[in-house]
Amino acid sequence: MNTLRAWARDLSLGARFAFGGGRQGWTRTLLTGVGVGLGVALLLIGTAVPGALTDRHEREDARSLLGATTADAPGRDTLLVARVDQTYRHQDIGGRLLRAEGPDAPVPPGLKALPKAGEMAVSPALERLLASPEGADLRERLGARITATVADRGLTGPAELLFYLGSDSLQRGGPGEYRIQRITAFAGDREPRALGPGLMLLVVLAFVALLTPVAVFIAAAVRFGGERRDQRLAALRLVGADGRTVRRIAAGEALSGALVGLVLGAGFFLAGRSLVGSLSFQQRSVFPEDLDPSAWLLLLVALAVPAAAVAVTVPAAVAVAGAIALQMVFTGVEEDYERPTGQDPGRAAVSVMMHMGTESRLDALARELAATPGVVRAVPLTGFQAARSTPADGQTIRGTIGTCDALREVADIGACAEGDAFVLSGGGLSPTGEPLAPVPGERLYAGNITSFGARELPAQKPVEWAVPAGARTVRAVPDPMGDLREGVLVTPSAAPREMGSWPTAQVYLQTDESRPDTLDRIRTAVFRAEPLAKATTLRESSEDTSYAAIRTGLFFGAAALLVLIGTSMLVSQLEQLRERRRLLAALVAFGTPRGTLGLSVLWQTALPIALGLSLATGTGLALGSALLWVAGRPVHVDWTSVLALAGAGVGVVALVTLLTLPPLLRMMRPDGLRTE
């Protein structure tokens, strides 16, 4: 018999074993198929992720203002745009104020027309939020009439919260003009996004850590029914099948299970894909159509899974090891991507910054904010620019206006009364050798010192002002934002007058932390008073967005993996129970209590997992240490994370045991055991 025929015969015999054997045989193959299918689905999702990210980035870039084509002067095709991003109950909301300057102004992707003044276009998720009871407070902030919905091509994901608000007051000019862009098109040329080597290492590690258990799981799944198969193969050996023939038959059987798994996996993937649009994790969501693996990756999975099914038979608990190693690497490189901001949330929870603020507007805003429920203290400060000549030759002096109480937030001023002024120590010398800090009695220009008569707003002349002769020199202290100020500090009656809209206004707000809605009320009040005002929540540290995205991705993957591990254990346990039905029958016949049998299942699951977790923890710690050592980082073990991961493993064991009990009890019923 030629080799090809022998192969065909043996493989088909293997397939016969997989699909033959009546209900029992089918059940076993189905269990294998479900197991492999889950792995395949995860692999398909894994292979679809790069494409999904690319699509997401492309849509993000298409509406980005960073790469937009800009214009200097108003024209038929220009649009004024300002970012007015919001936060509502810890959710980020993207926002843009738009004002068309001509009939051909560009329209953002996903919209057919620009919203007119007082009108708003929103993403479907934001529309739902605004319509829901949870969005009641947000409606106070974003109360404009909704006239359009942003289509999918203008969104990064289905759960993205985004609005475009039409404005008729947006204009360039003044100190805050850098926040307003004049553009002729949204899409522009942008450098392709690239991850640094550190982040790339994390991405590669995450993929390896997440996909290795999938491969192991697939290998384990095709071993379901191993006991029966071994008996079958032994019988074949007895009737004269040589080792090679038996291996081919076993390969045919494994291949059949893997092929069923591929079909089921494709089904799980498609089902999961249609569900994915309704899921959101840490405000990241994916359009189902974005999860579209490339053809060559599909081919790779279609070939690799059956190959792995035939070649690999290694049971292991490598998931926890990978996760611990990754956790260690994350902790090790955290400081590269998570930096202290210098901000002091203890002194102020929110800093509100408003450009083009007159004294009266600042006072009005400060009063409104102070009256917001949950605000304990409001500290308003006005900032202005001064110079020794005008227009300023590049060397400007910073001035801060505030009550004595407010000035104490930025300097150690000691005794103070209304009418006092202070010069801050330090400041050094300018490149021309001039002292940067002014001296008491020195005459300066304040207000519009840089762009006098040069911009689109009505010209505002600088005002002459003399630093009060009695000004004391004091030491600056970091303000709640961590900023160490220079220049002069003056109380309101000693400040320059009639600077127009040039001063900037800042209000520090202390809040009552026991009232969770306070921050949102503040943001609503600020947005209603001045959409371009920026409310910043003070944080001790800030995180690199790419790093955060990768960590989010890892959490996504780890969650999916835990589900996979749990399912795999459940399927394996059911398979084991099925194979040991005869033994169970004997034990029940001897009068073994059900509780004892139930506990035996727990132990059968728990002991291997406990052993596996111990080994995995050791391996993970060693692997993480090695990786950190290679990366030249200090080795640090975050025991809380290690315990949390090990705890998750224990949780999965408990859940699997619980889910295994109903079929066990069913099997132990007399009618279930009769045939055994």
């Binding site: 018999m1 015969r9 033959g20 029992q24 045989g25 050996r237 009737v239 099948a241």
Partner: protein, 228 residues
């Protein structure tokens, strides 16, 4: 009886599992068409002897010669080919493949030898008729009685017209009536095909179907002439 003219001869067989000696200088011989019962209490080493004779287990010492060929010197492929074409096996629990129908089980050795399906199944059905189980051909082993399953296993053992059939406690799981039937059909069919039968049993009732008995005790064998 001397080994002269023997089909299968074993001398000086030793086999140990850990510190337990299963065979200790055991000897065996069988002539073509002869039925030899290997008897002995449980754990005496009789099954190990059968496994060594069939080339399933390699002995630690000693030789097994089949038709002039030293089995212990053969590779896996050659021993497999020998089991496929020259030997047949019947075990206590039949060792049928549960996923295949009874006729497919009987045809399996022929299929492995390269015979086409139809031809193999036709031959298999012929043997099943002889063993009076042709009516269960389409059923799976799990759907037939123990006695029927064991007769299917005998048909499978004989389908390739082997020169030696190894039967390890073939009636061990059957009631006496079915046991008698299986033994009667096995020995008749074997004799008709001129096949030698190595019959491992601890039942004298079963051993009565043999031409000669060998008793194994503590790993040593002793040839007993049948008292007629």
């Amino acid at each position: 009886m001397t080994p002269a003219g023997s089909l299968l001869v074993a001398t000086g067989l030793c086999k140990a599992y850990g510190t337990t000696k299963a065979l200790d200088d055991a000897a065996f011989s069988i002539h073509p068409g002869e039925v030899v019962a290997v008897m002995g209490p449980s754990g005496s080493g009789k099954s190990t002897l059968l496994h060594c004779l069939a080339g399933i287990v390699a002995p630690d010492a000693g030789t097994v010669t089949y038709d002039g060929r030293d089995l212990t010197a053969l590779g896996d492929a050659e021993r497999s080919a020998l089991r496929r074409s020259q030997f047949g096996f019947v075990f206590q629990f039949g060792q049928l493949v549960p996923e295949l129908t009874c006729v497919e089980n009987v045809a399996l050795p022929l299929r492995l030898a390269g015979v086409r399906r139809k031809e193999a199944e036709a031959t298999a059905l012929g043997w099943m008729e002889r063993l009076q189980v042709e009516d269960v051909g389409a059923k799976r082993p799990g759907e037939v009685s123990g006695g029927q399953g064991q007769r299917v296993a005998v048909a499978r053992a004989l389908v390739t017209r082997p020169r030696v059939v190894f039967a390890d406690e073939p009636t061990g799981a059957l009631d006496s009536l079915n046991g008698e039937l299986v033994m009667q059909l096995l020995t008749e069919a074997a004799r008709a095909a001129s096949a030698a039968v190595v019959l491992v049993t601890h039942e004298t009732r079963v051993a009565a179907y043999s031409d000669r008995e060998i008793v194994v005790r503590d790993g040593r064998s002793r040839d007993m002439e049948r008292a007629i």
